[in-house]
Amino acid sequence: MSMRTPLAQVRGHGSAKSGAHHWWAQRLSAIALIPLVLWLVASLAAVATGDYATAVDWLRSPWNSALLILLIGAMFYHAQLGMQVVFEDYISAYWLQVASIILVRFLAMLLSVVSIIAVLRVSWGS
């Protein structure tokens, strides 16, 4: 067992350089989501109240499908980062904490890929 204090053990190793990565990623995705979410709600208020053809026409526009894919990516990335912090704060059993974070990451990846494929299938026609 080392006689050095925990502080002495970590001193002098230098910065990990990636310590602020999660923080930055959460803010960056948040900033991206501000215009994207406003655009989505405004669009859906108009589109989702109409019929099938209205929705398909809307999604076939390259701008709409591009923005929707960007929103899906930013949304699930932001969701995964947020849930990670929640698990880190409230789950004290370390194995369960890590398992939950991994599960949410896999689910976010699955749901975003499914959603993007759905968007592409409509916008390219089938």
């Binding site: 803010r27 948040a30 900033i31 989501l33 501000i34 979410v37 406003l38 709600v41 405004a42 859906l44 208020a45 108009a46 989702a48 109240t49 109409g50 099938y52 929705a55 398909v56 999604l59 929707l68 899906i72 949304m75 699930f76 969701a79 947020g82 849930m83 929640v86 749901l111 499914v114 959603s115 494929i117 759905a118 968007v119 299938r121 409509v122 089938s126």
Partner: protein, 132 residues
């Protein structure tokens, strides 16, 4: 010294709920709720991709009483998380930390998110030609 009989600091139940604390935990709660709510968007998109029949089914569900009971808090949580998130971004830039400003921005967030929710549903009903 044993840790079992140490004096405890006052816990959540002792404190009178304050706007700042309530909005803080509401940000996290709305975030978790929205993560579950992403399933709605996935459901709508996959229904659309599967064709007119499944889309009509999804529309019928989302337009039903149950669908609306889910949609309304979803949009409210979305706008709350959005507005309060912007409040957080100002704090990240080091602005708005005075107690009076924190309370004022909190009230603005509550009013704005409710207003935006009502505007969104108002727009949706106007698009349907005013039919509920």
């Amino acid at each position: 010294m044993g840790s079992s009989n140490r004096p405890l600091s006052p816990h959540l139940q002792i404190y009178k709920p304050q706007l700042t604390a309530v909005l803080s935990i509401a940000h996290r709660a709305s975030g978790i709720f929205l993560v579950i709510g992403t399933l709605l968007l996935v459901y709508w998109l996959t229904a659309l991709a599967q064709g007119p029949d499944s889309y009509a089914q999804a529309q019928a569900f989302l337009g039903s009483t149950l669908g609306r009971v889910i949609l309304f808090p979803w949009v409210l949580a979305l706008f709350y998380h959005l507005c309060n998130g912007i409040r957080h971004l100002f704090w990240d830039m080091g602005a708005g930390f005075e107690i009076s400003t924190v309370y004022a921005s909190g009230k603005i967030v509550v009013v704005t998110s409710i207003a935006l929710t009502l505007i969104a549903f108002g727009m949706a009903y106007a698009m349907r030609g005013g039919a509920l």
